[in-house]
Symmetry: C2
Subunit: 278 residues, 2 copies
């Protein structure tokens, strides 16, 4: 969530001591504004901020539920890929699409503040891609995905990847209608990230540990990274791979294949037949 003061149901602390606390522990707040009007002057009242943010998230969740129903009705397996900038999401997608071949249709929604670099890279594989540029925005939201879906017109039994804006904080709070959030962590980023950015790892169902080919050149304890991730998200699935060298890609492709089978298992036979003929 795009809270600034960290008051969103949690407390902002300085050296472990509570610096800012909300009157309502379930309330959320945004911006350089804290709940204790006594401590510094407030221009925006807490109530107003809380109301705005609650409205925003409720609207997002409603649109996300519509997206999810649309995707499920077509047997689409949709993944929301989240990570720091530069973790290798786009390279992973390019290599995945190449390896996936004709198993099923694949499409991609690309999110970035600016540029269409990533969508261009995806389209070079032959897969359809829609680029969403968020401008000042720090994450995709369900409305953006809804509009992108309208452009993609996905075939039944498709694999859909949504590559979120590179950001380990804000995308965690926004449901897009995906089946799973997949968090990508590259070995060059350090093994402590799951504890430092716990919301994102808690929201994910799979962690892809990427760039394992660079492990010999950096100080990165893979076992410790996985232990830390499972401390915030018990049972988190983990796949270690290198999109660059191809190591570990088989496990990832098998995971995708199993997910797509589950997603399409409820489809009426007629829809599956249409998809297979298409």
């Amino acid at each position: 969530m795009c809270t600034t003061c960290g008051c969103g149901g949690h407390e902002a602390t300085i050296d472990g001591a509570t610096a800012f606390r909300h009157a309502d522990p379930h309330a959320v707040a945004i911006g350089a504004v804290h709940a204790h009007a006594a401590k510094h002057a407030h221009g925006a009242s807490d109530e107003r901020i809380v109301a705005v943010e609650r409205d925003l998230l409720a609207k997002n969740d409603a649109i996300a539920a519509l997206n999810r129903r649309t995707l499920e009705q077509r047997g689409v397996f949709a993944l929301n890929l989240v990570s720091s900038p530069g973790s290798g999401k786009t390279t992973l997608l390019v290599r995945t699409i190449e390896a996936w071949g004709a198993r099923s249709p694949v499409a991609v929604i690309e999110g970035d503040q600016q540029t269409s670099f990533d969508a261009d890279r995806i389209r070079a594989t032959g897969a359809p891609a829609v680029q969403v540029n968020t401008g000042k925005g720090c994450h995709l939201d369900a409305a953006m995905v809804s509009r992108a879906l309208a452009q993609l017109d996905l075939a039944p039994r498709s694999l859909l990847f949504v590559e979120n804006v590179g950001n380990l904080v804000c995308p965690a709070a926004f449901d897009l209608g995906e089946a799973h959030k997949v968090v990508i962590l590259s070995v060059t980023e350090g093994e402590d990230k799951p504890l430092k950015y716990p919301d994102m790892f808690r929201a994910a169902d799979l962690m892809v540990l990427n760039k394992v080919d660079l492990a010999p050149y950096v100080s990165f304890d893979r076992a410790r990274a996985i232990e830390m991730a499972r401390r915030v998200r018990p049972g988190l699935e983990v796949i270690e791979l290198s999109a660059t060298t191809g190591a570990g890609m088989d496990a990832w492709l098998a995971w995708l294949d199993a997910g797509l089978r589950r997603a399409s298992s409820q489809l009426p036979a007629a829809v599956v037949a249409t998809a297979q003929a298409g």
Copy 2:
């Protein structure tokens, strides 16, 4: 800025076509809400969102101005270090403090969503550090820095590093009262980041290109990265280094030294004498 739909003075686009546009091009918006009430239902009115965000930023800027005056009056050279998670900010700080030695006092304000790992690493060098945990928050704000400054009680002619939350988007909009934002880009992240996240690079006065020791193992065009950064921020200074191997650290230390001299050049002689005696 923590905008979600990207309407904040810019437009969110899908494949280059305007998807969402604000009635007021200078207005800012937050959350999964777009300016065109006609296109989907709004719970929070644009006017209310714009008013909240304007208030938040105005409050932040007022506190940042106070921070800046406090720092300048003490001849403190204060830097706001911004980057993706895992770019190597903390390692750079540890190595910088070790190499800086007794040239002047050094202090650090550490920002993370959770954990005190980074402050612990800084304190192990002997330098004072204050850990700010933002909870749900995606960046530091001026009020957090103000409170941390009260705890640090900086000596005149200090070097102050503020290590922001790892996030290439949201910290760009929030002035903390620093002399400069310094953006750290590691070679493992890819050279296209300045164009994808232009606000951050535009806000910075120096780019530190870190982890150059890993350049032989990754596909990273350093000249292209610098060209892209200067396309969004003409005249951006660049220092290439490896905090791990020490390569390039001399240029960074010289840059810090020059900045500290400028910051302390306006101090009354009595204050400087006190600092030198301390």
